[in-house]
């Protein structure tokens, strides 16, 4: 492949994301034209006021829509990058942030936070849910690591198995919490289905602070990740300290997943489909794949969120939407690929 082509694709993915952000900001109950959106953004950057624009528009754009749109984009990008990293580390093109049980851990943490408030232990929910989700994810990661560390090389199979075991225990735990919640179980269920309703600038900021450095960190090790596709033993003989790189990138991808789940709930299939699809188009080179996943995942989740927010007559949870569309679509590409291999 020539050098120009991947760069061209990255630039066009970036432009598509920008266009998506601007046009999504204009969509909704109040229709705002893209020119006005750009002008509002420009004005607020410079701290100016404009007479020609409806005075409620800047508030709608800056305080209501933009935080939600940017959060969904960052979460989409984060989940896709985390998915691509998990796939590259576990040498399994079908792995995703859920394989190691990280998001189950986050879900368990969030459910715990909700049930605690139901039992009258008052911690403000806006703080406790993300915090508990995050702690849950990290505790799961530690649990999976220590379960898998009996073989000190942290092999992919052991990791995946440990993840499956711990995820099974956690989902039983979530079931138990739902049972305890009794009549108020709907709060937990709704949170678990994933949503971007009412996200604020502080959500944008916390996500940004984890996802962007995370992306940079994974990019720094992108070439080592490529080499690790040769298998751990061979990668070691090529000068890559694979068990160290593996550990650091697992922690990094889990952090990204944890922050994404904690601001949005469980949103499935983004981390699986985007890397898979882009790998089919761009090839497996992580140096191009990882940034492309960030941009592609951001655009996709932003698009899906805009559909539920602005197009559908009533909002359905984003996690349900991505799984409903993503699942069958994934079946289709998976099947097509298997058939292509067989012929």
């Amino acid at each position: 492949m020539t050098k120009i082509k991947p760069l061209l694709i990255l630039v066009s993915l970036f432009l598509i994301l920008c266009v998506a952000i601007i046009s999504a900001t204009g969509m909704g109950f109040l229709q705002i034209s893209p020119q006005e959106v750009v002008q509002i953004l420009w004005n607020s950057l410079l701290g100016q006021e404009s007479q020609s624009i409806n005075p409620t528009f800047p508030f709608v754009v800056i305080e209501v829509r933009l935080p939600r749109i940017l959060t969904s984009a960052l979460v989409g990008g984060g989940l896709a990058v985390a998915g691509a990293v998990f796939q590259a580390i576990l040498l399994n093109p079908l792995a995703d942030p859920y394989t190691l049980g990280i998001s189950s851990g986050a879900a368990f943490g969030a459910s715990l936070a909700i049930i605690l408030t139901l039992f009258g232990i008052v911690i403000p929910v806006w703080f406790s849910i993300p915090a508990f989700a995050f702690l849950g994810a990290m505790a799961t990661l530690i649990g999976v690591f220590s379960l898998a560390s009996t073989d000190n090389k942290l092999s992919s199979n052991t990791l995946i198995l440990s993840g499956v075991i711990i995820a099974a225990i956690l989902s039983a735990g979530i079931g138990f919490i739902k049972y305890l919640a009794d009549e108020q179980v709907s709060i937990i269920i709704f949170w678990l289905m994933g949503s971007f309703v009412g996200r604020t600038w502080s959500d944008v900021l916390t996500t940004l602070l984890i996802v962007l450095p995370g992306l940079g960190f994974t990019l720094y090790y992108a070439r080592d990740l490529n080499i690790m596709a040769l298998g751990e033993r061979t990668a070691n003989t090529l000068g890559v300290d694979s068990s160290r790189v593996k550990k650091m990138l697992l922690v990094c991808a889990s952090l990204i997943t944890a922050i994404c789940v904690s601001v949005s709930g469980i949103i499935g299939f983004v981390g699986l489909i985007i890397p898979h699809l882009l790998r089919m188009i761009l090839g497996p080179d992580n140096r191009i794949l990882l940034p492309a996943c960030f941009l592609g995942g951001a655009t996709l989740l932003l698009g899906a969120d805009t559909i539920t927010r602005a197009w559908l007559p009533s909002e359905i949870p984003i996690g349900v939407l991505t799984s409903l569309i993503g699942g069958p679509f994934f079946c289709y590409i998976f099947r097509k690929k298997q058939l292509a291999k067989a012929s």
Binding site: K3, A88, L91, N92, P93, Y220, R223, N226, I227, A229, L230, G231, R233, T234, N236, T237, L238, G239, V240, D241, R279, G283, P284, D285
Partner: protein, 262 residues
């Protein structure tokens, strides 16, 4: 034997997997510019010894020196510039092209964030030509046959341009034509470029035909380390492999030739 010709110097090496002793106090030396065969029955520790020499395993006691310096004092990067490994098993789930995989052999030579230099590209092309895989270079490695894949991995190791090449039964998946072709190429590099080869080989006749020296492993110790003429005797074959065989000498290169009694 002069001291500066010594490449690997192993002294009182012991190694165990947990409580399972594999090697106990073994000693041997390997010299530069020779083709070593590593032979022994299944489970005699050939692959373990290779991992110890590659520093991917650490001994529980003893010394492994590489060029008069402890092997473990080299960084992985430094080792990657000196030692290349062709593993026995290899599989890849990602669709890298043959060219990309061979280029991965240049990884230790290319600084992070740099592009491959002209020399890197030349080395890759030479390695592909040597292994007869130039026509496959745009194919995905996941779509290759076992033998083609083995040649790709071999080319990957050759492109690494190291002074030592370690083969872990690297020809066991190949047909006889490619096996002989590859062994010839390697042997030629040993004689012309001063490459050192350490090859675990199951096929004793192959070892006898191509190696200069053989290291024979039995029951966690070095049974013998000598020139092939002295290794392949009916007595040794009987005591190491428990087989009856007679040994004659090939007319063209004086290497031993083994006839097993079935």
């Amino acid at each position: 034997m002069t001291q500066n010709n010594s490449l690997f110097h192993i002294e009182n090496l012991s190694f165990a997997y947990r409580s399972n002793m594999v090697f106990e106090n073994i000693n041997f030396q390997l010299e530069k510019g020779k083709f070593y065969g590593l032979i022994g029955a299944n489970g005699s520790g050939k692959s373990t010894l290779i991992e110890l020499l590659m520093a991917t395993l650490s001994p529980i006691s003893g010394v492994i020196n590489y060029q008069a310096k402890s092997l473990h004092s080299y960084s992985r990067q430094e080792l990657a510039l000196r030692l290349a490994l062709v593993p026995q098993h290899f599989s890849m789930d990602f669709e890298y092209t043959v060219y990309d995989v061979v280029l991965m052999g240049r990884h230790p030579h290319i600084p992070r964030f740099a592009s491959p230099s002209q020399h890197d590209i030349d080395a890759v092309e030479l390695a592909m030509k040597t292994m007869d895989i130039v026509h496959l270079q745009e194919r995905a490695v996941s779509a290759l046959s076992g033998g083609e894949l083995q040649r790709v991995i071999m080319a990957r190791a050759l492109s690494q341009e190291t002074e030592v090449l370690i083969l872990d039964e690297a020809t066991s998946n190949l047909d006889i034509q490619h096996t002989i072709a590859i062994m010839r190429v390697i042997k030629e590099r040993v004689h012309t470029n001063g490459l050192t080869v350490i090859a675990a080989i199951h096929d004793l006749n192959l070892a006898a035909a191509f190696c200069d020296n053989c290291l024979v492993l039995k029951d966690g110790s070095i049974f013998a380390n000598a020139a092939v003429e002295n290794i392949f005797t009916p007595e040794l074959l009987q005591s190491v492999f428990s087989v009856q065989a007679s040994v004659s000498q090939s007319s063209e290169n004086k290497h031993p030739r083994i006839q097993f009694q079935y």
